[in-house]
């Protein structure tokens, strides 16, 4: 049951998005996120929507999967839309004025723009980063982007190593949790009955063995790493070097241009803006 949880949700593939340098993708996502937040009129939002659709096509990932990524945030989207719809006040004649409910045209505009803003942010970042970048490439990218911080003694390498090991052991520990749950059930433990307190208490017999085993694993792993000459960052090379290629430079330029376009569209005159 627990094994079905997938983290990072990487979909392997060979599109140009997949092949881009993770460092570039992280930077591009920052530009994208900034663009989403500064977009403020119908032109810039239309441009955002268009580019997300374009990204989907380029990534080669089925639109169904992309739509699925929206599901977990649907509640937030609806909530934001409703709040904006009913609580935006403006100096104009309301469209609806019934009992205590007033809806202004401006409220509708804001609600729609908010929906587009959240959806493009989620879909865009998923497409650029999590869907098309393997977790290991992502940690690698983060490590190398932050590596200047090593000079001021920030443990960047150690942090990246921790991330990698965490990613490596998530499936192992989930499997183990499953086993412990089965073992406790076989001894008559019930996990689905009783109130919240009772349920929480029922999980104690799972957590304790899980922690003990995790510590034992950590101990053994540390020895195994020492046996393989691990001594931190010192003198370490990497099999997969990250090398900037022509396409990476192009992608970076496109990301900058993208933000510039949004700024430009924002200046176009229109009544449809927030």
């Amino acid at each position: 049951m627990l094994k079905d949880i997938t983290l990072g949700q990487y979909f392997s593939g060979n599109s140009i998005l997949h092949r881009l340098d993770p460092r570039i993708k992280i930077i591009a996502v920052l530009f994208f996120a900034v663009s989403v937040f500064i977009a403020k009129n119908v032109y810039s939002f239309a441009f955002l929507l268009l580019s997300v659709i374009l990204l989907t096509l380029v990534s080669g990932i089925s639109y169904k999967i992309v739509l699925k990524s929206i599901k977990p945030v649907l509640v937030i989207v609806i909530f934001t839309a409703v709040i904006n719809l009913f609580f935006t006040k403006a100096d104009e004649t309301p469209l609806i004025d019934w009992l205590f409910i007033t809806v202004y045209p401006r409220g509708i505009k804001t609600a729609v723009f908010m929906i587009v803003r959240i959806l493009t942010l989620i879909v865009g970042t998923s497409l650029i980063l999590t869907y098309t970048t393997s977790p290991i490439a992502l940690t690698d990218g983060i490590e190398r982007l932050l590596s200047p911080l090593k000079k001021i003694k920030v443990p960047v390498h150690e942090f990246a190593m921790m991330m990698t090991i965490a990613l490596r052991f998530i499936p192992t520990l989930l499997e183990e949790t499953d086993k412990i749950i089965s073992a406790q059930k076989a001894r008559g433990a019930g996990f689905d009955e009783g109130g919240l307190m009772k349920k929480a208490k029922a999980f104690l017999p799972i957590l304790i063995p899980l922690f003990i085993s995790a510590f034992r694993r950590a101990d053994e792993l540390a020895v195994a790493m020492e046996c393989r000459c691990y001594r931190g960052d010192e003198g370490r090379t990497r099999m997969k070097e990250l090398k900037m290629q022509g396409r990476d430079v192009t992608a970076l330029i496109l990301a900058v241009l993208f933000t510039a376009c949004i700024i430009f569209f924002n200046t176009l005159p229109t009544t449809l803006s927030i």
Binding site: I165, T172, R217, E226, C227, R228, C229, R231
Partner: protein
Amino acid sequence: MIKLENVSFDYSDAEDLIPADKVINNISLEIEKGSFVAILGHNGSGKSTLAKLFNGILIPKSGRVTVDGMDTSDEDLLFDIRRRVGMVFQNPDNQIVATTVEEDVAFAPENLGVEPSEIRRRVAEALETVGMTRFRQHSPSQLSGGQKQRVAIAGIIAMKPECIIFDESTAMLDPQGRKEVLDTITKLRQDGMTVVLITHYMNEAVYADRVIVMNDGNVEMDAPPRQIFSKVERLKEIGLDVPQVTELIFKLREAGYSLPHDLVFPEEGAEAIEKLILEHKQR
């Protein structure tokens, strides 16, 4: 290549008032380059502790361990010692560091600072040796126990050590996985690797050139397998088994049949018994 001189070890810390029991008790021995040594002993007899002394994971409390002349108590030499003496443990899950097979095999050469192109070569070669090339891109959680253990071995091979210690590396595997790992060890032996095999399976130990039997922190016996397994009674006293063939021959000999006392392989046992039956028929 590994030399122990009057080595003792216990797990007490410096601040402990009462010294803990000695886990390794004044042991001297030498593992020769290119040899195949099996270490036997009951649970808690100190086999794993001994193995960890071999590559400086543990440092002796008294005495000296040297690898190719380098003392393991010298911290500056540890890196060079560990790259020469690799170690494979029992649980493959707790040895694999990375999220893909090839990344994991690359871990040791990366730590050694090997050039990226050379790392790729070593990874390809190591995966070829253990027969896991097909699974290069897989995540460790998609592999069987035997496959995972072979990846762990590849991770050590890629370091290009001169000696590999296997600490009960087949203990958690099913017969198929065990065979996979043993075949890999045989292959490494052919390439001239020094192998130290710690095991509870007697039929694995018979293939060694030399068997060391540990008992409560002491070396009880140290001889070629035939000589070791002919001492059936003593082995049983210290809580060990003998190979099934040896056991059968031992019982037959007790019952008065004249058979050689030092048979360890099933084939030679079968041959000897066949000969015996033919002799009986002729009479």
